[in-house]
Amino acid sequence: MIHVLVIGAGAMGSTHAAAYADMPNAYLAGIVDTDAGKGARVAEACGTSSFTSYAKAMEALDRVDVVDVCLPTPLHKKHVLQAADDGKHVICEKPLARSLADAREMIDHCRSRGVRLFVGHVLRFFHEYAHAKRLLDDGVIGNPAVIRAGRGGGYPIGWQHWYSDFGASGGITLDAMIHDFDFLRWCFGEVERVYAKGLHGRVHAQLDYSLVTLRFQSGAIAHVEGTWSHEGFSMNLEIAGTQGIIGYDSARDQPLLSFQRGGHAGGGGGVPVPESPVEENPYFQELRHFLNCIEQDEEPIVTAEDAYEALRIALSALKSMETGRPVDLGAGAADLSSKGVIGS
């Protein structure tokens, strides 16, 4: 039995807490949130205790094996380093950090403290995406050529509007498109070049929209769209290869769509709510996999180094937007200040 402490009772923290509560080999030791009411609500729903700080939780709890950090990006580093110092294995939400230097420090620190570090690139565990990867690996569509991926919806509010602080969140490109960057790299290998355009810096409104082109070392080309300018979440993927096409669009392929009428009979007022029910949701599968990797000392499907590379792609996209130039990832370009920019 692995004892897990979840930090953060937001959307992701409560999803993770619920997953641990259902997991046979996990014990949800507690949940931490600076908002006592929020923490208590999730704790009650999941049958655990809530705390208003990590220190208080560690003081009160007899045993914690894993700390799962589900906090806004700028708070990741402090908590990951602290948990590692306390000798706890760490699961951290994506993106691992806002900068490559922080990400490297976190990875190195966990290694030096002898604890595992897992990063929640959950898209690899989404049934539809994992299935697409299997088809690809089975050669069903031949050699992949042009890929289109996209995700997004409305502008997220989050804790104290932290998403709208670009310095903290990196906007949609870093916060959400990093899912696709990681998944695409898993499928198609290393990225050679990134070129990107985005709304950041162009408009003063709570809107973000990014269009990113990835050129893989294999020659394949991927177009990735990220939007916080639309209504209602959706995500999509299309892989066109030499022998066929795999396509998915959550906005069109809807297994379950409910609509609750508003106050008056026959009138509108509500919004359609899509669901895609599965026995084990992707978060559950991801977290169980991470815990199994700890128990059996195995490498995870997605490593901290993978998370680092996904971050490098996302930051390269931001760099490209800023400079108007493609960013070369090939030549060990860990430095995203200016050196990686082609033609500079």
Binding site: V203, L207, I221, G244, I342, G343
Partner: protein, 327 residues
């Protein structure tokens, strides 16, 4: 009104010919085709005369001519029409290079004939309605656009750069680049492109993603790939996603379709919306009838869209964004 057609090299010729036949007061006066067998065949199907010499066709008292020859041959045919004083509807891309396109525009202007670039998507009802909503300010200010014009590799002369000027990028950039210019009223400032031959056995660019910066700060991407396979339920697509300050707009120009599942052909889309090729040809004929000196969609529009494709090729060579003005 007598209208002729120069060459059935481009498959759009047949669709345009059918439109001409349907239009009242219009006579499909003849077909020139250097490929006599092909020309005779279509002349027979369409109930018109075949000409083995385009000069002869142009001297039949024509009001207008539709040029649907290979891209590299547009110039020769358009210049001949201008010389004969015949208005021209020229298939896209207007040419394989900017210099030829400029010569064509100049020649038509000097001869006082209209040069219209065949951009049928401008006559798609969903696209027209979108333009109306944009002009009414429903989206606020346009911020960004995401377009696709994907299709199948057409093969034949389309994959012979000497005749086509290039592959997917020159073939499929111009339609949506034109619509983006039309919607924004802005000109393209810079183009970056990732281009590849990733599917075809023949050496030709068949995949491309363009990133476009407009001179009013709008940015866009465009997927021009020949990435649809024979099993895909339709030939391809024209889609455009527009993000504005006040809203978003999603266009699927061929979304007016039935899903047909037949034993013979599998799953296919059947488009039931208004025929945009008919709208295009009707507009050309109407402009001639009204005695206009400039078409609704001009040769310059054709050149501007072509420049986007040419800038994309240059960008892929240089690995940097390229301004059409540099070309």
């Amino acid at each position: 009104m007598k209208i002729g057609i120069v060459s059935f090299a481009h498959m759009h010729a047949y669709s345009y010919a059918k439109a001409l036949i349907q239009l009242e007061g219009v006579e499909l006066a003849g077909i020139y085709d250097p490929d006599e067998q092909r020309g005779q065949k279509f002349a027979g199907i369409l109930g018109t005369s075949y000409y083995g010499d385009y000069a002869e066709l142009l001297s039949q008292g024509l009001s207008g001519i539709v040029v649907t020859s290979e891209n590299a041959n547009h110039k020769e045919h358009v210049l001949a029409a201008a010389k004969a004083g015949v208005h021209v509807l020229c298939e896209k891309p207007i040419s394989t290079n900017a210099a030829d396109a400029r010569d064509m525009i100049e020649a038509c202007k000097a001869a006082g004939v209209m040069l219209q670039t065949a951009f049928p998507v401008r006559y798609n009802r969903s696209v027209i309605r979108a333009k109306q909503m944009i002009d009414e300010g429903k989206l606020g200010r346009i911020l960004a656009m995401k377009g696709t014009n994907r299709g199948q590799n057409p093969g034949g002369w389309f994959v012979d750069p000497a005749l086509s000027g290039g592959g997917a990028v020159i073939d499929h950039t111009v339609h949506v680049a034109d619509i983006m210019r039309w919607f924004t009223g802005a000109e393209v400032k810079e183009v970056y492109a990732e281009i590849g031959q990733l599917m075809s056995a023949v050496p030709i660019d068949d995949c491309g993603i363009l990133s476009i910066e407009f001179d009013n700060g709008v940015f866009a991407t465009l997927d021009c790939s020949w990435s649809r396979n024979p099993s895909f339920p339709t030939w391809g697509d024209v889609t455009l996603e527009i993000v504005g300050t006040a809203g978003t707009l999603t266009i699927d120009a061929f979304g007016q379709k039935l899903n047909v599942f037949s034993e013979e052909r599998g799953y296919r889309h059947h488009f039931w919306g208004d025929d945009m090729d008919f709208g295009l040809v009707r507009d050309f004929v109407a402009s001639i009838a009204e005695g206009r000196t400039e078409a609704n969609v001009t040769g310059v529009d054709g050149l501007k869209a072509l420049e986007v494709a040419l800038a994309a090729y240059r960008s892929a060579e240089r690995l940097t964004a390229v301004s059409p003005a540099e070309l």
